[in-house]
Symmetry: D2
Subunit: 318 residues, 4 copies
């Protein structure tokens, strides 16, 4: 048997730990194992390299992905995909493991529908926005990275008695913002799922100020507001200084946390085992705290944010 593994879409900490688990689990089954470079682009360019035990040594604690990654819009073109399939067929690769985020799912599903390949998908994303799993590889690391940044900003906020808006990633989903806001004890957390009115935020902050709070943190998911604009609007109504910070790409990288590594390990091993058992279109996830597999073509539509926790966090912080 032959197996290839690739990473695609935005990088997430723990992807390397997942590659390591996939490769080693595959080798332990006696399979010939390949790494495909630059995601779907590497399928197209026939850019494979053989992987042995040593190929994945010393990478478990590195952020990013040694197989490189790319967003690949060309994969939407049937001709492009056909070339990919030809390359896989030519090499006799029957098993493919795709490690990627929400945007890579559609491509993986295409492969399942259009080929006889056995494919397993490992959800890796700092946004945790993939339905079918309670947590994605990389999420825990990104939360801690953003939290560490806010702990630092809190020093300045307190010293200068300012309100600080901090933008974290999350264009459509507030999972990261909620986890970060909760852990940071943020006075306000704004997520894309819950519309808000600026006046209410201002009222909250002024109320906090009257109670004696001089420095406050507002965590804002990327998709919830334009942070510079919002900061400006708040400044007009709030009776103190307002500043903002956009955390940006820092959230993607870094040494993966134990949890991100261990999730990657369990997902990677389970993915190969599921292929070994003869499954064709596999999604590996964690549900009720147990690693499970699902049919990749029948995933639930969406995952909902726990709004009760959001409200409770607000109640106890402010």
């Amino acid at each position: 048997m032959k197996l290839a593994v690739l990473t695609t879409g935005g990088d997430a900490p723990g992807m390397n730990a997942a590659i390591r688990a996939v490769v080693r689990r595959s080798l332990a089954f006696g399979w010939e194992t390949f790494g495909c470079e630059r995601g779907y682009q590497g399928l197209f360019e026939d850019d494979f390299r053989p992987m042995d035990h040593g190929s994945v040594s010393g990478i478990i604690n590195h952020g990013g992905t040694v197989l490189k990654t790319l967003r690949c819009p060309d994969f939407k073109e049937p001709d492009f995909r056909r070339q990919c399939y030809k390359n896989l067929e030519k090499r006799g690769i029957e098993n493919l493991v795709v490690i990627g985020g929400d945007g890579s799912l559609a491509g993986a599903r295409c492969i399942c529908r259009e080929t006889v390949l056995s494919l397993a998908f490992i959800p890796a994303s700092i946004d945790n926005d993939i339905a079918g799993t309670e947590e994605t590889v990389g999420f825990d690391t990104a939360v801690n990275t953003a939290l560490d940044a806010i702990d630092k900003i809190r020093d300045t906020a307190t010293s200068h008695e300012r309100v600080f808006l901090v933008e974290v990633m999350g264009r459509e989903k507030g999972f990261l913002a909620l986890a970060v806001g909760l852990a940071a004890g943020a006075e306000v957390t704004l997520v894309p799922e819950v519309p808000f009115r600026v006046e209410e935020v201002v009222a909250d902050l002024n109320e906090g100020r009257e109670k004696g709070k001089r420095s406050m943190i507002v965590v804002v998911a990327e998709g919830a507001a334009e942070v510079p604009v919002l900061a400006n609007q708040i400044e007009k109504g709030y009776k103190g200084e307002v500043r903002y910070s956009i955390l940006g790409y820092v959230q993607r990288g870094g040494v993966p946390t134990a949890r991100s590594r261990n999730l990657a390990f369990l997902f990677g091993a389970r993915a190969v085992e599921a292929l070994k058992e003869g499954n064709k279109a596999v999604f590996v996830g964690i549900e009720a705290n147990r690693v499970v597999t699902r049919n990749l073509l029948e995933l639930p539509e969406k995952k909902a944010l726990d709004l009760e926790i959001l409200n409770l966090a607000h109640l106890l912080a402010s």
Copy 2:
């Protein structure tokens, strides 16, 4: 209504976040809220202080516990306990939240059996050895602290081509060792639950060496072996250099991770809510990834290590 909160036993990162959640949730219900200093000792010495919103400001990201903690063997004495109960009664405190580890459970159960107090117990321990919850407050932080230390030791191990034994906490249970060993990609992980023979470890290491591994990590739970003795025994059979390191107290402290803080938040809030709902002997835990409450007097006997993962980790690392 009146509520008091205390921390007892070994400290764990996230205890402060738990205190914050308990105090703020209690205040939000309009209850008069107290902190009791030095665990059960403070009950005896009537060492309470009133807590308001600001009493728990700025502590969410600090290790240790602002209420101090103590191991209190005297609490096994009925006379000692009677004095504690008198103090609580005198002050009219009907609700008590105990934040502590495995060793503090017995005391909490005594209180439930011997008084009419409503008591909620929040499991906080770096060992994660408490049955009835999948995870304890502080465990995730300790895992990451130990992992960070091993990542550092790996630098030296690789540069000098040595085998390194690293002792992590865990006298009776290997939860911490397993999580750390898995995340570190340790070649061997030794836990108290699984007896081992030194010759097997040596054989494993020599086999690794023959495959080309020059540096290897052996994670050892405190209760699995005497590390200095074991290092000496291994050195006799292994064909290379062996060193060891005992991580010790470093694992208890530090800035709590997001996960430890958020677990503390959820446990703390739920504990007070359960008391509000009229429950008497409450244990708060996480099960199937959901916060649940149980009867503190009817907890399961023990929690078992996942030996399959231990074996898989070994298979893929070595």
Copy 3:
């Protein structure tokens, strides 16, 4: 004797360690010691509090400043200053220690010229842009914070094979950018002191790409370019993807490094000793790696960046 200490201007990590050293050194001389809140504003509002040994316990490892800080443009008004002097006189405070950055020097000099107070100035700034000292309190921490962020961004840059522009603080001086760029192995470092042409940067990057470099880091001091604009300009000429990240306020906070703490300790103790010795207008700095004092009214005009190192860094990185 009486001494007061204040922090002013932007906060810098290590200010608390400096406050601790000043307070304890003053107490050890037997002086009555005060903290003045919110910098020069606290002088105006007569906002002093007595400091004892315990007032500065447990703050050595905290970022920010427990005395709070403020930029205080009003201090340029003679009437405002007169009120400040009255308050100091009324309280019988003869010694003042000012901990602050470049923007606070002018105010400190005014006090020296207009009063009989003995004043010592401790340079604390993440920018290291104060002439008269080789290093300021907080600089080393900010360098390491920015470096840690770039190490993370490098993961993503490498995985996606992108050029990343990273903006670090430094409106007029490139000390922070140079130290960070050197330590990060940045392919290009742009500082306000050295004008550059976009075409040259593009040519450098394309040359690197031709040599096989797929990911490169460009460190940009705040004052050297508008980063979003520059990224856009580079993208037009560079044959690959370009992204940018603005590190922002994260650089101000955080646990101070050993070096920032120890510099703070030495400066703080020396400041009080210099006042004890009868000096009137003291600037404490480090020169040729030794703590020295200078006349605050006769500081050198400016401090120059070491352009040779900048060039060498460029030569060896690209």
Copy 4:
């Protein structure tokens, strides 16, 4: 021209950054450049590999040394050394850069005396115990690593109201202990240079306790005392709980700090430049905060600890 570089003795964070600078500076001069594996042992075994620009990419932020290292007692044997010289001669290598600690100096001096090679020595050691330079590569990182551990231990010490003894590295010199103790605000710091009496330490601690200090930190250099024994002795006289922790190998590894990297950069570049200028036996160091070169055969005998700072630290902490 040909140049070889090697690392020898205990590893120190920043060695990789030094290798990078040496290799790139040498290549920029157009020299053929080699890495020699495992220190002096590699000279003996003729274990060289060619180094190009890419050989040192992506290592600047890694602890340890990619060239491996070894303590090599055999190098004291003239026959062993003769074989080393033969190998170097055979390959036509005229320039050798040795990166190592105090124990490697003797070997480097032998080479200078016994051959016509041009040799430059770069001091790298976490102990900072090498005369002729104010700071060694790796020292700053080790100080911060130990400090971070003590900050964590302080959490537990405070929560349990205990005295904690923390052993840091330093068999003969207290540089690391002093820097760490100062930055940690340790109540007592014990170094090999200053004999102490246990009763005095106990008296200090009891005095602190009477003043209201419930938790205290005693930093102990490895060579100052047997920490477990000392803890036991102190416990007999101190009126509270005493615990100890031995930091051990953790102090050697880890991501190098900016300062360790930049010192490595400057030393590495300067070493090669000095060889280019025709120097024969070069020691690179930092003095009065400037990079300097000295004659390796005429280094000062020893470097003294600043006892004034030690005393001041004690005065202000306790």
